[in-house]
């Protein structure tokens, strides 16, 4: 009877989790959705606590763990800056991975508790599932730690590549497979830990060759892995809720990775093999610099004057805005321009920022209403009748070479058609090319004006000029 009840509770929790994801189809329903998710998790935890065999000591231990973890999690979530969100998410993924490793270890040392055999005599099929959960969990952990270090600037965002890297990874992958097969055949404890160590090494090696701007793909992919790890553990211990939730999360991360790859017109394999734009900074395209018209540099006052007289302005934020923390002052600028009678819209490229939807959160934090923010397909037809495109901290995603130059590294990538606007302002620190290492021909167009300087400082100066 108790088992039926807990199974029923797990079913309710699964449905609530699905509703939590369903709510995210619109900002208005999303908050209720998040509430459903919390209730679902509460039900799952309570149902498990009332399972037979739970002693007083066990429950004390569990409550202590929940209290410690819960306090840490709550404090971190409340203190974190929204610009640091990508590294927080990466850090959280690593914890799920590590938890999966620990649960797999617990199942290995106490198989009776999960009904998968007795110690030293675990069912073969359970060993397969266990090693899957363990390996994916361990890869998620170390991969996420590297992603965290790169995103938090604790290690260089540049790709780390060396000769024979892919062969080494392939070799380790095959070795992992051999270890798993031997482990399933023998159920040896030493092999369990060898699988863990090898998987940690693989996760580390798989992420180091991937560069900073490809992080949206990596973060989504690790999100997906954390789901598959949970599903793997779910199969091991025969728990429906873990399987359903793992599948949901795995599918979600996979779709996000796909969207991010499509946003760069690259295959997931291409991203994972890494090394893209390894040097970045030096101009790669064409040697005909001398033939080019000079770049026009303008002052914030010029920009303020032109935007004051504009009817329609589209703002294109990129990672540079996040780095400079310019979102707040950008909104002030937009408010002043609205008072002058201009229509303001924001255009977001799918891969802007360091995680999916990063720019939307930063703009929302700066109190930009979400109905002024548009996705690429929605906004692209509107650039033609915009007076000004104000590009702040974005580069590659506006480069028309992606549409015309077949030799370009970014050829085929969907871009924001800012060049169709009457005037384009580029807020940039210098003339360096973007992450892809491709020079942006837009800088040399007659209707483009460069505003050199830190994104926040330049925008502040525009605001001051507008107030005058």
């Amino acid at each position: 009877m108790a088992t039926t009840l807990s199974t029923l509770a797990y079913l309710v929790a699964s449905v609530l989790f699905i509703l939590a994801l369903r709510g995210l189809s619109h900002p208005e329903t999303s908050r209720t959705g998040n509430m459903y998710g919390m209730i679902g998790m509460g039900i799952a935890i309570l149902a498990t606590l009332f399972k037979p065999g739970m002693g007083f000591g066990g429950i004390t231990l569990i409550v202590a763990g929940l209290a410690i973890g819960g306090t840490v999690g709550t404090i971190v979530a409340q203190r974190i800056q929204m610009t640091a969100l990508p590294q927080l998410v990466a850090a959280f993924h690593s914890l799920v991975g590590m938890a999966a490793v620990f649960v797999a270890a617990a199942a290995f040392y106490a198989p009776e508790s999960f009904g998968i055999g007795t110690r030293g005599h675990i069912h073969g099929q359970s060993l397969v599932e266990m090693s899957l959960g363990l390996a994916i969990g361990a890869i998620t952990f170390s991969g996420s730690v590297i992603a965290f270090a790169k995103l938090a600037g604790k290690m260089s965002g540049a790709p780390i590549t060396f000769n024979g890297q892919h062969w080494l990874n392939l070799g380790l992958g095959i070795l992992l497979l051999v270890l798993v097969i031997t482990f399933v055949a023998t159920g040896n404890g030493l092999l369990f830990w060898l699988i863990a160590i090898l998987s940690f090494a693989l996760g580390f090696l798989l992420i180091i060759p991937i560069g900073g701007a490809d992080m949206p793909v990596v973060v989504s992919m690790l999100n997906s892995y954390s789901g598959w790890a949970a599903a793997g553990i779910g199969f091991t211990i025969g728990n429906l809720l873990l399987i359903v939730t793992g599948a949901l999360v795995g599918a979600s991360g996979a779709i996000l990775s796909y969207i991010m790859c499509k946003g760069m017109n690259r295959s997931i394999i291409n991203v994972l093999l890494g090394g893209f734009g390894s040097e970045g900074g030096t101009a790669a395209a064409g040697g005909g610099d001398a033939d080019r018209p000079p770049v026009k540099a303008g002052s914030p006052e010029d920009a303020a004057y032109m935007m004051k007289n504009a009817q329609k302005i589209i703002i294109v934020p990129g990672y540079g805005m996040a780095v400079a923390q310019a979102q707040q002052v950008l909104r002030e600028m937009a408010d002043l321009l609205k008072k002058e009678g201009a229509e303001i819209k924001y255009a977001i490229h799918p891969v802007a920022g360091r995680m999916p939807g990063h720019m939307n959160v930063l703009l929302a934090e700066a109190n930009v209403p979400y109905d002024e923010v548009f996705e690429l397909e929605e906004i692209n037809p509107e650039f033609a009748d915009a007076d000004v495109a104000f590009v702040i901290g974005a580069n590659d995603v506006t480069n028309p070479a992606a549409k015309t130059d077949k030799s370009s590294a970014i050829y085929g990538m969907p871009i924001l058609d800012v060049e169709r606007a009457k005037t384009v302002f580029f807020v940039k620190r210098g003339m360096a090319s973007g992450y892809a290492g491709v020079e942006n021909e837009l800088f040399y167009r007659p209707n483009t004006m460069m505003l050199f300087g830190d994104a926040k400082k330049v925008t502040q100066e525009v605001v001051q000029a507008l107030q005058r």
């Binding site: 369903r22 998790m41 065999g53 231990l61 209290a67 410690i68 799920v96 938890a99 959160v361």
Partner: protein
């Protein structure tokens, strides 16, 4: 047809229904252990694949503006692995397994609370024009 005949007929039909029910019960009893022992994996796999489809359809409906909160929520719910951790910490018969269970409960709890809280913070910021 008089009332007595009708009653007799009804009685015999009730008798037959009872027999059928008994047969069905025996058949179910005979089949249950087979289904439970031979096909739990297929049963779990079915659920897994169906859940993948549900996830696929639900997530394509998520608006791109909310992709960051989506990562927050999925991160929080993937910590449902805490269920396995609780079972280990609460019911395992070896100290090692209990320690691993406790560690896993703690890590998963960081994610559960952190994930839902940070998502709530994010979602609270998304406002309409004039809202």
């Amino acid at each position: 047809m008089n009332a007595t005949e009708l009653a007799t007929q009804a009685q015999s039909m009730a008798q037959r229904a009872l027999e059928l029910a008994e047969q069905a019960r025996r058949a179910a009893e005979a089949a249950a252990p087979v289904a439970a022992a031979a096909e739990p994996f297929l049963y779990l796999l079915t659920i897994f694949l169906l859940a993948c489809f549900v996830g696929y359809h639900v997530v394509w409906n998520v608006t791109p503006a909310l992709h960051s909160p989506l990562m927050g929520v999925t991160n929080a719910i993937s910590s449902v692995i805490v269920v396995g951790a609780i079972l280990a910490a609460g019911t395992a018969d070896t100290v090692v397994a209990r320690i691993f269970g406790f560690l896993a409960v703690t890590l998963a709890a960081v994610n559960i609370f952190g994930g839902f809280m940070v998502t709530r913070r994010m979602l609270a910021m998304f406002k309409k024009k004039g809202g």
